[in-house]
């Protein structure tokens, strides 16, 4: 009954219905499973999921804002999932990516949702993956996942995307920092933002050489794009690069492969989320000597020895 109501809200593109559905997923509410089981799969299949990652201050949100404008001018409905880290101390978070996108606040065909990582072992990927499906079911044909490219869980989220763009900017450290920050090897598109600033050309050269090292066929190599997001420069070229990668992934079957991997990743994520409390309970009840190799103790605990 209640899930019917929310599903109707999704079909009608009701802003509150969409928002509430994502909250139910975030709160691990059992209703979320009902909703996710009844979504329109064809819409989810058709939507393009674009991951945008990179170090803080590279210009991800400003770039996202410009990309939204371009897709809107093509008449496409756009969803954005903006992920920011939770404080490991308080569990709270400041979700500030929206500031750069407020120009779209009154556009009913731009749905922005901020999500905090909530310090989960698993679960974050799954929550973001569910949000992607919900947004697609509400008619978004482009869904952008924006996240800081540091840390395992953030990289896992990006693996949910059909196409991944890594945003870098000059002045944020040398190319070694860039490699640490964003793992260029998983990116389909390398964006050098703030291209009007000193050091942009050197950074672009470094990125070109990383793209070349990727090997493989010419068309599979990462594309390097230069942008000045704050002035809207280079966005047309970026969209063209996205288009090219998408077409190539569809043709080669890479898109299907990534979707399948992403689904498995979400399942793994949920499984980890479910199993963790069981193990914690075991450890709490377990009368053990705190001596010796912890890995062996863990194996004993799981009955693997």
């Amino acid at each position: 009954m209640k899930s019917e109501h929310i599903l109707k809200g999704l079909r009608d593109r009701d802003q509150r219905g969409i928002a509430r559905a994502i909250s139910l997923v975030e709160e691990n509410d059992p209703l979320a499973d009902e909703i996710l089981s009844s979504l329109d799969d064809s819409l989810v299949d058709q939507a393009m999921v674009l991951g945008i990652t990179g170090p803080p201050g590279a210009g991800k949100s400003t770039l996202t804002d410009r990309i939204i404008s371009k897709y809107r001018s093509q008449g496409r409905r756009v969803g954005v999932i903006a992920v920011d880290p939770s404080s490991p101390i308080s569990g709270g978070a400041i979700l500030g990516d929206r500031i750069r996108m407020m120009g779209h606040a009154l556009d009913k065909d731009v749905v922005v949702r901020s999500m905090a990582t909530r310090g989960r072992l698993g679960g974050l990927c799954a929550a973001a993956g569910a949000a992607v499906r919900i947004l697609a079911s509400s008619g978004c044909s482009v869904i952008i996942i924006e996240t800081v490219g540091v840390g395992q869980s953030e990289m896992d989220i990006i693996r949910l995307a059909d196409i991944t763009a890594l945003v870098l900017a000059p002045g944020l450290g040398d190319d070694i920092q860039a490699m640490k920050a964003g793992l260029p090897e998983v990116a389909d598109i390398l964006i050098v933002n703030k291209a009007d600033c000193a050091g942009a050309d050197t950074l672009a050269m470094d990125m070109e050489s990383i793209a070349r090292e990727g090997g493989g066929k010419e068309k599979d190599k990462a594309k390097v794009c230069m942008t000045v997001a704050s002035e809207g420069k280079g966005i047309d070229d970026l969209l063209a690069a996205i288009e090219t990668v998408d077409a190539s992934h569809r043709e080669s079957g890479e898109r299907r492969t990534r979707r399948e991997k992403a689904y498995d990743l979400e399942v793994l994520d949920w499984a980890l989320e479910m199993i963790k409390p069981l193990i914690i309970e075991k450890i709490e009840k377990w009368d053990h000597d705190r001596k010796g190799a912890p890995r062996l103790q863990a194996a004993k605990l799981l009955g693997q020895e």
């Binding site: 209640k2 802003q15 509150r16 969409i18 928002a19 509430r20 994502i22 909250s23 975030e26 709160e27 691990n28 509410d29 059992p30 939770s86 404080s87 101390i89 308080s90 569990g91 709270g92 978070a93 400041i94 979700l95 500030g96 929206r98 500031i99 407020m102 606040a105 009154l106 749905v111 922005v112 949702r113 901020s114 905090a116 909530r118």
Partner: protein, 140 residues
């Protein structure tokens, strides 16, 4: 259903032309440190933009800051914008440089709580927590 402690989501924003955001940022940090997820929408927003963001983010409360004297017009305008967006159940709390004599009219206009420079931060956090809990209990 296992009743886990729910993470409260709130929006902190500044309606109108006043660009002084120290207060808003201070409250945003204090709420984060108290375990809230704070969607921060920045300065110079219209009441309609704030309401639209509050709906999309599914927040349980909206906090507004004003240091320029326009609170009597802008705070109630956000309450009205939320009603127009079908989200009249989301409480609005406000703070800033607000003379005592304005507190009554603001509350009459539907502002859930009003904070002035002397309000202790613990009291502000408690007010947000209570407003969130009431809103969340009323969700259907």
């Amino acid at each position: 259903m296992p009743e886990q402690k729910r993470t409260h989501r709130v929006l902190i924003g500044k309606p109108g032309l006043d660009g002084h955001d120290r207060g808003a940022k201070f409250i945003a940090r204090a709420l984060r440190d108290a375990g809230f997820e704070v969607v921060y929408t920045g300065i110079r927003r219209t009441p309609e933009e704030i309401a639209a963001a509050a709906v999309q983010e599914d927040v349980s409360a909206v906090g507004l800051s004003s240091l320029s004297g326009a609170h009597l017009r802008l705070f109630p305008a956000v309450v009205q914008a939320l009603k127009n967006a079908g989200a009249g159940d989301i409480p609005v709390l406000g703070g800033g440089i607000i003379p005592d004599e304005d507190i009554g009219p603001l509350k009459d206009a539907g502002i859930n709580a009003v904070f002035t420079p002397g309000t202790p931060v613990t009291q502000i956090i408690a007010a947000f927590r209570s407003a969130c809990e009431t809103q969340e209990a009323g969700r259907t």
